[in-house]
Amino acid sequence: MTASGASLSRFIGPDGLAVAALPDFARDAAELVRLYRAMLLTRAFDEKAVALQRTGRLGTFAVSLGQEAVSVGVAAGMRAEDVFLPSFREQGGQLWRGVTPLELFLYWGGDERGSDFKGPRQDFPICIPVGSHPPHAVGVAMAFKLRREPRVAVCVLGDGATSKGDFAEAINMAGVWNAPAVFVVNNNRWAISVPLARQTAARSLAQKAVAAGIPGEQVDGNDVVAVRATVERAVERARGGGGPSLVEALTYRLGDHTTADDASRYRDDAEVSPHWAEEPVLRLRRHLTATGAWDRAREEQAIAAAAAAVNADADRYLATPAQPRETIFDFTYAAMPADLDAQRRAALGGA
């Protein structure tokens, strides 16, 4: 699994059986069920978002199918007061941290209010320019450090994003400054049509940490227990003054890149198929079932509950009128400059 020679952290194998002694939180079945429900919610959200997009009621959308354990696991490894800096495929983590399906629908539906999270007020909005947000995480972390606040900035980026200079600059700075920041690479093996082997010759993405002199480790990104445990350890180390680190979570993009993409142009089904056996929802269900914490009835109930939550917010989204036209202007500056106000008045005056 790992080509880097480093060991890959894993607690639950594809068959749902534990391969190592579980961390404390995972011995609590209720907690595992919470993680499981969060992944189901993510999957339900994605399904609904795709359905809305296909019927022209949502913009281009990036599904996280198969990657739910990374997203949920990272967020579960954080504390509420930490700051999350997600890329565009981390709805799982955003939902866990209290961003609502409604807000996410609004965002992907083309409404800025979707980034005005009522929950995690200090979390960053979704980062679309790939790899441009790791420096923000360093800045957030340095603010915590300066103010002596025991908080951590957690940035999630894709495998493609590790090729961006901003990422290298940021982890290098974090290293020099011992910034309380954790960088998680959601390695789904593809950046649109570019497979990992054409993205880098590095033996692993965790090893990118060597260039910054910070620790790097790999985790099985389809094992939500391992992701959470690994991230939690990295986050707590950073919180305690132990400095930044890089976590590479190995998973797989089961779907198209986005709703605008057709992966069959560049990727064989034969490559994809085996990964279905590894996927994180199935895996945790197997584990929960094997340990007696789960059964078909609960599954059906949980799926229905997730769908209901998502559908209710989808309805709210569809019923939300667009913002008034003047909001194009109103948040550009804290106070409206005279020059812009003239444009605003002209725009509202008609013409």
Binding site: W108, A161, Q343
Partner: protein, 326 residues
């Protein structure tokens, strides 16, 4: 003659240039097997192989920088930036290297590269996918900036850009990629890089525009014609270096001008054109020069973008204001 849309015309021009000249290479994210996210490079990888159609890692600054190195060695790289929202990291390479390699070496080295990118809004794209930064690029000395507005012009101008011995930024109006078709003769003929296109003659007022806004501007001219106002339309297309002559000559004849573009008003390329007119057509001006542009705000997300983009109505209204000026 085959009817092509704009992205197909781009594709034909690329294929033609690669077939004609072995030094032409294409590089960028997803330009290979995938054929580009808009299919602009569709089929090139199969036809020309992965040595000449190169999928790059995700790193825009280096894409531009690699193109500089290739071009200095006499290749003719055509690099794609997937959206103008990601063209900012390359600006360093454009300003500090591509545009000045010739002058700083007194002509010893040159940089015949093309940087292509889809440009502009109106397709309900995600955040950061709808910007129009042409003025930021057009103000770089030593660079050419081109923004065609029809399949035929895209074909001829892209061929010219690739053959040009200097660096060219070639912006393609995303909104027009599939919006219209026209007959395009794939004959390998380039169009000049220093000429505006007069799309419509009109003695009363001159409408100056480029890119996707050409559509609304032509519609406005049609609307005005119905009101008895004869509006000429100029597609600037080759933004920098600017063909001042054509624009000034037209406005000297009509005395009135509306400039329409999608980028924010302030510092948009319309400012440069208005400034040229204010100096060189001064004596002929019968009314204030009107600019109809995006606002000095961030491009809104899709639900409000239609309110941001210059509409036919706004352009026509500006023209009426200019006509009504005593």
């Amino acid at each position: 003659m085959e009817e092509l849309n704009l992205v197909q015309a781009v594709n034909r021009a690329l294929a033609r240039a690669m077939a004609d000249d072995p030094s032409v290479v294409v590089l960028g994210e997803d330009v290979g097997r995938d054929g580009g996210v808009f299919r602009a490079t569709d089929g090139l990888w199969t036809r020309f192989g992965d040595e000449r159609v190169i999928d790059t890692p995700l790193a825009e600054a280096a894409i531009a920088g690699v193109a500089v190195g290739m071009a200095a060695q006499g290749l003719r790289p055509v690099a794609e930036i997937q959206f103008t929202g990601f063209i900012y990291p390359p600006i360093d390479q454009l300003v500090n290297h591509a545009s000045r390699l010739r002058t700083r070496t007194r002509g010893r080295l040159a940089c015949p590269m093309v940087l292509r990118a889809p440009c502009g809004g109106g397709i309900h794209a995600p955040e950061h996918h709808s910007e129009s930064p042409e003025a930021m690029l057009a103000q770089i000395p030593g660079l050419r900036v081109v923004l065609p507005s029809s399949p035929a012009r895209a074909y001829g101008l892209l061929l010219a850009a690739i053959r040009d011995p200097d660096p060219v930024v070639f912006l393609e109006p995303t909104r027009l990629y599939r919006a219209l078709r026209e007959p395009v003769d794939d004959n390998g003929e380039a169009l000049p890089l220093d000429r505006c296109f007069v799309l419509r003659e009109g003695k009363d007022i001159t409408l100056v525009t480029w890119g996707a806004t050409v559509v609304e501007t032509l519609a406005a001219a049609e609307l005005l014609a119905g009101e008895g106002i004869a509006a000429g339309v100029i597609d600037v297309a080759t933004l920098h270096p600017l063909d001042q002559e054509t624009i000034v000559a037209a406005v000297r004849r009509t005395g009135r001008c509306v400039i329409a573009h999608e980028a924010p008003l302030s510092g948009g390329w319309g400012a440069e054109i208005a400034a040229r007119l204010a100096e060189h057509a001064f004596a002929s001006l019968l009314a204030p020069i009107q600019r109809v542009a995006g606002y000095d705000t961030v491009m809104p997300l899709p639900r409000l973008e239609a309110h941001y983009l210059p509409s036919t109505q706004r352009i026509a209204a500006a023209a009426r204001r200019a006509m009504g000026f005593a």
